[in-house]
Amino acid sequence: MTAGKTRRAGAQVAERIAFALIWTSALATLAVLAFIVLYILDLGLPHVSWRFLTSAPEEMGREGGILPTIIGTIVLTLGAVAIAAPLGIGAAVFLTEYTWESPVTRAIRFGAEALAGVPSIIFGLFGFIFFVTYLKMGWSILSGSLTLAIMILPTIIRTAEEAIRTVPNPYRDVSFGLGATRWQMVTSVVLPNALPGIITGIILAIGRSVGETAAVIFTAGTALNMPTSLVSPLRTMAVHFYILAIEGISLEKAYATGAILIITTLTVNVLANWLIVRAVRRHRRKS
């Protein structure tokens, strides 16, 4: 009787302690997130000005702005998405609409999963040995974009596949029933309805590309000049930030660049999130 009561009381104490720890962990995690963002913004934003965004760096970045690195980031990211999006969406369409589950689809899914787990430094090594050296593209927009494209491909495939699977099956029946070919069905019914999810995936991939350093530094290079062609080397914001910080060139400029970098990636993520929420709502309304 008493033993039971004590055990009961003990369990309640244990529960209270455990829950307190869990609450603390959750709040601490949120606090860390807030701290990182606010820390960079607080120390970086005062050094951000219109001139900083629109002028070229001087003395390796000690003075001046970051315009070429902004352009570089945009060009490299757009290049990567332009390559990876058609491939990724195509692969997702194939997996969902053109085949049954089979050893082939399992192999493709395994490939995508394995690729998703490859660390970015390996992509950097690979891009360097394959695109830069073997295919003689040099440190260039082309090498960088191709490397990034392979890196973001799994994300685009996975999100596109998930989005396509939420398109209700009766739409497919109706479309086929009205004499659509498979490809017509895909383009007229499946893709338009999966579009929000697909775009979300692309935006997440953009976020990953913008923040990437290891895979970019060995494939696109670190040149501070404005890129002029597909084979020009360039430096992205993330690479620039890394070099400013690690070589101690200018802390002030590093904070400012970091602030721009974090604002960009946060915006991209918030946008993606907002699209997800909207897509989920639309989906609920329909079903």
Partner: protein, 286 residues
Amino acid sequence: MEALRERLIGRALLVVACSVILALAIITYFIFQAGLPIIVRLGLDDFLFNTRWQPAEEGGSFGIGAMVLGSLWVTLGALVVGVPLGLAVAVFSAELAPEWLSTLIRPAIQLLAGIPSVIYGFVGLMVLVPWVRTHLGGPGLSVLTAAIVLGIMILPNIISISEDSLRAVPAAYREGALALGATRWQTIWGVLIPAARSGIGASVILGMGRALGETMAVIMMIGNSLQVPRSLLDPATTVTSNIGLEMAYASGEHREALFATGVVLFAFIMVLNLAANAFSRRRLQA
């Protein structure tokens, strides 16, 4: 005509989908082709366990033992920090948090995942390194610093997959345990977490892969010393950070040795992927 076009489109999509496998194959081939010869020349155990890395010397000495140790320490440390914290947040979000708070946590965790690793490294360098130096001693640039920041960086991986698998536990388990008079905590600890263990296991392995593979953030915090670390407060170097630092100027045998380091990393990551895959397959079957 129409039928022919349809068949062509189908074929084209198959080819496109196989590009993933092709990419993986080319990556594997080129990394191994560039790095394997020197491993064969030196012998795998000498390359792995020898702690003397002196690429500048005549003839050079290429042993990655110190880096392997550094990577292991940092990765283990990241897991020690990240797993309990991540699991706690997952439990919080899946079980304890009021609806509004848990719908807030998911996007917040995604933001955490979206922050570039160089930012983590930089904040670690500017904030945590000085703190460790003044309060715990040592140079601040250390295994401990890198491990803590990496632990935070892998939180999103751990949280999202663990939370999903906690939520996937059938409601009957929970109700059954509560009906038998278990407290909520006893239910979580004794029933839910064991039921979700495959997913949690997979999340830990994926987090481990991320910590092991992280490069830039580690370079910024670990001190990049080629010494074998004697304590958590010592600087060290890892497999990845050494590649990241030296690739920029390496050539000849030195570059080959860096690719060989990449081979070791790549092989290890693939093993981890297979393990995570096995875990999640078990989760699907369960």
